[in-house]
Subunit: 335 residues, 2 copies
């Protein structure tokens, strides 16, 4: 059958802000399914801030996307053809198959079968997937959110932040979110059960945060960097810990703003630890077991923003970088 | 006997650069030696960058020196009068007795008897004292300078840096110093045995460092912060570690320059750990046992710059903040 694939490729490297014209929509025949290969029809694509880094060719832990290549990304979809004993048509799988409707997974590599009876398939791109594992590693392997401690989480309504805060609550810590706008802050407290949430867009942000964290901050799970990081650092307690998971406020900036107040890191004997979720694949089974049980029990909740159709991916991705999404940003690819 | 003490007090808080007029020389009678107290004639005073922080009243891990109070500091001297069973006249002791010729240690608190047969008494203010322990904690408890790793140390000819680099060499790592000027760099390589040393005052500093650390940097023991930190961070390898011991380049600055390139911390999964040597008093016996044996065996060497007379302490301290001292800065107080 001559099925047509639709993919979104990188047309050029952005300098500073990403624009829709940095991407191109490309149609092409679906490739042949070779020996051992598996053909997948993607149902959902995950859009995540780390993708901004792959659009640059500066040195990084990961290869950049080349000009003309399909944008990379995590996906969930259905096996529609298989020359591989491990998969049959109808299997639902997660993969890293990129911004496209169809993909051939060579020898089935990178595919994981999922059971969509317990959880909706989109959960495997969020709280039961990479974002959830990132939150779990930061909150159980880098920081130790014991009762009595105060934990602050930026991008608290997002996929990683919302899971991180709920894990901190499960562990017994006092949990304060930071989010952009009153609606997100209300959601973080009312739906996710954080003890408080502070709006970083408010002019009173610094004083609001100081009032909420009146005993100082013991753990700061950072997804954003920039002004928010600089503000939280002023409130750190001695021996505080900063799991550094993302710097989304800086990804579109040509000139980076890091952290001026290193004296607070030194004086308070702070441990700042950068981490990348894909480093620690050995931890994924433990993380996913915890996350799945918490999701099924309703102890971890999440929100999704779903854009319709692959053509909407570039604008939805630009929205993610601007904090316009509310919860996990996905794109519905079909069918 | 009516002996006159000479002390240097804080006259006013500096804003930015320290000036000699921020200090005052004060004469007063030596206080009475009460029950349980010990009177010490100080022989040497240690001058260290951390003292700059105590001249400010901004929040810190330690109390500031009050206006009119004697400047604090580590000392080594001789017991000349004692109402305490643990000390007799003639005992040599280290203490934290400040910028003054005489001091009464209430109940003998904070005094440690030293044996000046094995090591010169000044060593107890340097490689066998607080600076040596700081180097030891950073290089054995925070970082792990295994063979095959590349270790970079700033302020490499200083009291902490020189010990840190020699410990890294003892542990088998490749060790690169950073120091100010050709004379210090030659000393770091020729006398201390570092594998290389790069002059941060050279216009070619960044490229010289990149050439020396051609396999990247696994451990950066930082004493200075600022431009040097920013330069080293560009060379970090994945999973690098930064024991953050000091930020001397910033202590005289009104506007702090921290670290812009946090993306390098995140992408490389770097652990940055601020630490204060006085937190870990339980580690001092192990540290001092190692350091003493290395000193006696000639595996750890050090250099001292000794200013003569208590009146020279303010200008010598300003020199420390400007990097003008070469090795450990001491003041000979007498007799």
């Amino acid at each position: 059958m001559a099925v047509t694939n639709t993919a979104i490729t990188l047309a050029r490297r952005p300098r500073g802000r990403v624009r829709e014209s940095d991407f191109r929509i490309v149609e092409s025949p679906v490739p042949d399914v070779g020996a051992g290969d598996v053909l997948i029809r993607n149902h959902y694509l995950s859009l995540d801030p780390y993708m901004r880094g792959r659009m640059d060719d500066s040195p990084s832990y990961a290869q950049p996307v080349m000009i003309g290549e399909t944008m990379i990304g995590a996906t969930v979809g259905e096996v529609i053809d298989s020359n591989n004993d491990r998969f049959i048509p109808g299997d639902m799988v997660t993969g890293f198959l990129g911004w496209q409707l169809y993909a051939v997974a060579t020898r089935g590599r990178g595919l994981t079968k999922i059971d969509s009876r317990d959880l909706p398939m989109t959960a495997y791109l969020g709280a039961a997937g990479m974002p959830g594992v990132a939150a779990w590693i930061g909150m159980t392997r880098i920081a130790d959110p014991l009762p009595g401690k105060t934990v602050v989480i930026s991008a608290a309504s997002g996929a990683v932040g919302s899971a991180a805060g709920q894990i901190a609550k499960i562990k017994g810590a006092r949990t304060i979110g930071i989010a952009g706008g009153a609606e997100k802050c209300a959601y973080v407290v009312d739906e996710l059960g954080f003890d408080a949430c502070v709006d970083h867009r408010s002019e009173a942000f610094a004083s609001d945060l100081a009032a909420s964290a009146s005993h100082g901050v013991d753990i700061y799970f950072d997804n954003v960097g920039g002004k928010v990081l600089e503000t939280v650092v002023q409130l750190l307690n001695p021996f505080a810990c900063i799991p550094l998971r993302g710097l989304v406020s800086q990804y579109n900036e040509v000139r980076q703003h890091g952290l001026d107040n290193l004296q607070a890191i030194l004086s308070n004997r702070v441990r700042m630890q950068g981490f990348i979720v894909s480093d620690q694949l050995d931890l994924w089974p433990s993380a996913l077991a915890d996350l799945s049980s918490w999701l099924v029990a309703g102890k971890v909740k999440y929100k999704e923003t779903i854009a319709e159709g692959i053509e909407s991916a570039p604008s939805a991705f630009i929205g993610v970088l601007n904090g316009e999404n509310f919860g996990k940003q996905l794109v519905r690819l079909g069918p």
